[in-house]
Symmetry: none
Subunit: 217 residues, 4 copies
DNA sequence: TATGAATGAGAATTCATTCAT
DNA sequence: TATGAATGAATTCTCATTCAT
């Protein structure tokens, strides 16, 4: 009853190890998102994870390694979500609307991702540049957006000459800025930007802008 | 162009409170913009300013007081620049183009302002909320944009029903995000986003989007 | 109307100087009493006095000089109060009771004096030892107590062989300790030691003890 | 007598948490007693203890936590010493004399305790009030004194109507004040109050006062 | 794999004091 | 006599990281 087979022991250890890693990543995601790269504390992460802080060094090498792991996992998360999106069988206009809504919802649901990106940009993207894992940065959305724009042009509903990269950045910018800067914006405008009504208005405005721009007549 | 007058140099050593204050604010603006609120160091600011760090406490009370002063001065700077903008005597479409260009140029020329805003948002805008100096947040641009939209609508060139606040935030978002997230974006796209050519393309894209959206026909 | 005679000017200046000195001493007395010698702040004193802190150096040379001045003035205060006490025309027992009451009241009314003495003792009385102003320490009470004890012995009402110094210290100790240690004592006993009732009980207890000890029969 | 065993020295370098804690408490007791709460230095404590100062924060949270720990241990020390005192099998008068002598000796041997209490009172007993560990403050002496007074009264040797709390405070006051204020008192009187002779005289005076007060006839 | 103990460099902040006017 | 500006040395406290087990 006390002894277990060697294989089981190894298994359990492996599973615990993985659980510990995930607990650390979860905790670190919150810590980094709330406090920024510099503001986050190793002790804070360990405490949130309920784990000895020495393990952060064991698993991730240090604070920067941990941050990179968190960031990479966040990118992986959005990549995964993107794959669930299917624009091909939608009409061009509907596809654009769907894309905007997807990005908007994802940013709303994952403000921590925006915060992590801010941190990464503050330090000149040194974590991403250090490791050349370009894969995690490649979004299929860009290609799909290109397809949709082309399809719309061919069908005569969209204007031509639209750079998918520029448009993609514009969509991201409109959602990102609204959410990431909500505190200063709501202080400026004296409005709650995050009420359900405000959210709905924002989404319909964005959709209107981009479709208004793209659609011919 | 680089040299400063002897008088300036000499005066820096004299007991000129205002000059010392400004030197600290200049230094702190750079330090906070480059390293963020948490990453900035009191020693770093003092060294950049060539001033005893004790004076930071003497004049600003502490790191947070200094940050607020820096932020407030940055807001004042953009407010001042805005006043030089004159949209009234322009046709609606030209006024919109001018507005977009103004914001774009200002953000390009003052990336430190974007960084400061990111820092302020990261901490929930606690500095702005602590002092209720709402004045510094009030931009005349919003009113002017409202006027332009209305003028365009009356003249029959712009669509109606456009919320100036939403549009203002959209314009800001498109410029802000491109500049603030340039490091991760350029890593993602493998493009230099800041080359003169890229800048020009970005501006013309943005103008196209918003005018394409607003203009009827 | 604008010009005043030179003499008046000098007078006014002198009077203002004295007022400033007194304001500083008043402020410092409170600051030192509340926070102790080490806990007291030069800035705190200047602020309480509503005076530039440079003047502390001008008038008193520094923190230690200020503390000594405060202490000396406090001693002078109690010496002055003592002179108003007249034990000679009282019967021995009444004189003792009067003496105890006087000390008790003075300590109650001047807890800052106790605190200052504690500070001075903590640093080995270095301020008093540095200047040999023994005069300020000489209390007439000791002589008067000696007289009363002798008178009582001769009249056959008091026991003999009582050392006035020991008795004086005992009386001081009983009042001093109760007041100086009131915070820990009241925490220990869970009683408010400073209510009027508690104060009255304390005084009558002390009087009882010392008269019970001294009186024959 | 002075030398410590090799084992002790070696162990101080090992990772013995309890030993480190005690070393810090010993060092801090001296530092706080000599310099007061405000005058004591974290660096001073660490240096005296031969320990990294970071550990003060690790074990005690900060200066105040350390002070409380020191104070609590000091209270525990006197509580322990008290338990060795046995008054029950002594005659009332002898018991009182024994009690006075015990307190006197304890204060003489532990002047640091008096100093710590002064510090605690200076700050309004905030450390004790913050934690509600009333137990450490409860002395058995008070009950025992009550018993002795009652016994004496019943046996007809002591006067009645004596409040044990008042008497206890009086005894404490007489010993405490003499020792705690020895520097100013000896400066005042120009006598060495701590010579063996002076100590003996003080003890006999105190005993005489309280027995003179209590005993009938 | 996991952990409590320990550390050195550095962080913000404080403080008595002096300078220049 | 008075004052705002300036300073250097401390002082408390923090932090990422390593050690020993």
């Amino acid at each position: 009853m006390v002894s277990t087979s060697l294989a089981d022991d190894a298994d359990l250890r492996t599973r615990d190890a993985e659980r510990t890693r995930q607990a650390l990543l979860d905790a670190a995601t919150v810590e980094f998102a709330e406090l920024g790269l510099e503001g986050a504390r190793i002790d804070g992460v360990a405490e949130r994870a309920g784990v000895n802080k020495r393990l952060i060094y064991y698993y991730f090498g240090g604070k920067d390694g941990l941050f990179y792991a968190v960031l990479a996992r966040s990118y992986a998360g959005i990549r995964e979500a993107e794959h669930a999106l299917n624009l091909i069988h939608l009409e061009p206009a509907a596809a654009i609307a769907r894309l905007i809504e997807f990005i908007w919802r994802y940013h709303l649901d994952h403000p921590e991702f925006l915060s992590l990106l801010n941190s990464e940009n503050l330090c000149g993207a040194r974590h991403l540049k250090a490791r050349q894992e370009r894969r995690i940065l490649d979004s299929p959305l860009l290609d799909w957006l290109g397809d949709v724009l082309e399809r719309g042009r061919v069908e005569g509903v969209f204007r031509g000459g639209v750079d998918p990269v520029q448009l993609y950045v514009s969509i991201l910018g409109q959602t990102y800025f609204y959410i990431s800067n909500r505190h200063t914006l709501s202080t400026s405008f004296g409005r709650d930007l995050m009420s359900p009504k405000a959210q709905a208005e924002r989404l319909s405005h964005m959709t209107e802008v981009f479709l208004g721009y793209l659609l011919i007549n």
